[in-house]
Assembly symmetry: C2
Homo-oligomer: 327 residues x 2
Amino acid sequence: MADAPGALPGEFALIARHFRRLAGPGALDLADDAALLDPPSGRQLVLAADAMVAGVHFLPDDPPETIGRKLLRVNLSDLAAMGAAPLGYLMTTALPKDLPPDWLGRFVDGLAADQAEFGLCVLGGDTVSTPGPISLSLTILGSVAPGAALRRAGARPGDSLWVSGTIGDGALGLRVLQGKLPGDPGGHLARRYRLPEPRLALGAALGGLARAAMDVSDGLVQDLGHLCRGAGCGAVLQAAEVPLSPAARALAAGDPALAGLCLTGGDDYELLFAAPPGAEEAVRARAATAGVPVARIGTFIEGPAEVRVLDAQGAEMALPRGGWSHF
Amino acid sequence: MADAPGALPGEFALIARHFRRLAGPGALDLADDAALLDPPSGRQLVLAADAMVAGVHFLPDDPPETIGRKLLRVNLSDLAAMGAAPLGYLMTTALPKDLPPDWLGRFVDGLAADQAEFGLCVLGGDTVSTPGPISLSLTILGSVAPGAALRRAGARPGDSLWVSGTIGDGALGLRVLQGKLPGDPGGHLARRYRLPEPRLALGAALGGLARAAMDVSDGLVQDLGHLCRGAGCGAVLQAAEVPLSPAARALAAGDPALAGLCLTGGDDYELLFAAPPGAEEAVRARAATAGVPVARIGTFIEGPAEVRVLDAQGAEMALPRGGWSHF
């Protein structure tokens, strides 16, 4: 606040020191008022934004390296759900003034690693101070072939319901990190909470095949409800078919409530999608090519937009709540 | 948090009730994972993001109607500084759970008014809860003819320095609202603090004429330093030529420190730009067509990237600080 005219004040030095190394073509070295980008020709743009607040979306003592990566991956997961490929992102950070001195460097290290892994760069953003908890916001920009975007609406009665990867790891990992659950010797669940895996290759592979898709962020059952409302029909979810990781299976075996938590807890960032009858082999082939495991977990049915969750004996399960909501 | 599967939980009902009415084409009713947009053909994309935190960028008791509008206008001002036209925006809101019941409706009312005024719509976003102050982030998307974007770098020694509108109103308006300054009988200064005027028509009109441009957000002197660093030369700012509103002039006449505050205080969102020698008439003609007053306030000079501020007698002014910085 005591900078002489002409000197670079703290905010700009901080951007130069930390964020500039993340800047890609179009970002103009983060030194202009805005980024400048030639849109990829013959493609539609896909845009999504997510916010994360310390203590709400991540733990205040999470490693700084994983916090930015989680925010980036959550947004990449939105692109995956649309079948889109990433182009770049803008990020705003509201940071307390008493952050540990190495926090920002480590935060940016994590982002740099994920930029290399997913092939995108920062286009712009803003860095401000806050008297409250760390608050982050990220807008992602992607592209898709015209008309090829996967949408939430489109499932029909008789379609099969599929999910990628495993469900429940993120919700269990959060509780492990909070000390509410024992176990997780290999750190699998904590890692899944902190670093979700955006299913970009699978989303791209499902174009022209899946009738509807979304990513599971707020809990499998609740998010399936969104697909049902988009379709104007119901769905039956076979709980025993929902894929669990060995770590999740070990915990759920000892406590039936944890099996319910897997279905409703959220933070999965797996793809949930509908495929037409007879497409089972095609789905499995495309998923194999994308290198992502998928499982058939239910069926869309005629009727109101409701989700019925059945256990291995075909009995309706009572679940504690539909999923995560902020309000 | 006690929603039955299939019911719309609070967060989604809130988006449906408040934000959906802001959604434009491409936003897919805010019901999908991302927005889908055909980029305007033959144009470059222009992207910027800004964050605002209650108590830092706006006053916690500012009318909710003006808070979203200020964030939108600050971003529109970045587009203006690039000579770009708005396409749409994404916004994330981190909101405390104890907001007054009418807050969000009034916040969205303000955004709706500005969407109509500036001809753009929301494309997407996210709404989360926070234990801290209201934290907002907005990413704006615009477009410009290829190669026509105004940039910060490009001024040359001998170029004239120009600014639009009036300077200092925002900084004075903040102090009036904080009770630190008397006056402002017509409410002009407070209004300028809460509702800056993005100079979109002027920015568009300066394409091909201005050699460098930016918007004044962190203080005239500090921001002029950015133009100097971009140009690799210095600038002389004639303080007496800096346009003040009648309200600002009345306050500054009674307190020389307030004249300094006008030059360094920030929150102006006027365009600061360089024009080549001999372009004075062209600048005035284009500004008149755009309906935006402009004033010539200095000159770029050979030498290091430093700003010299001279008073009406040609003596160098000592200013308390260069401008606003968060860190």
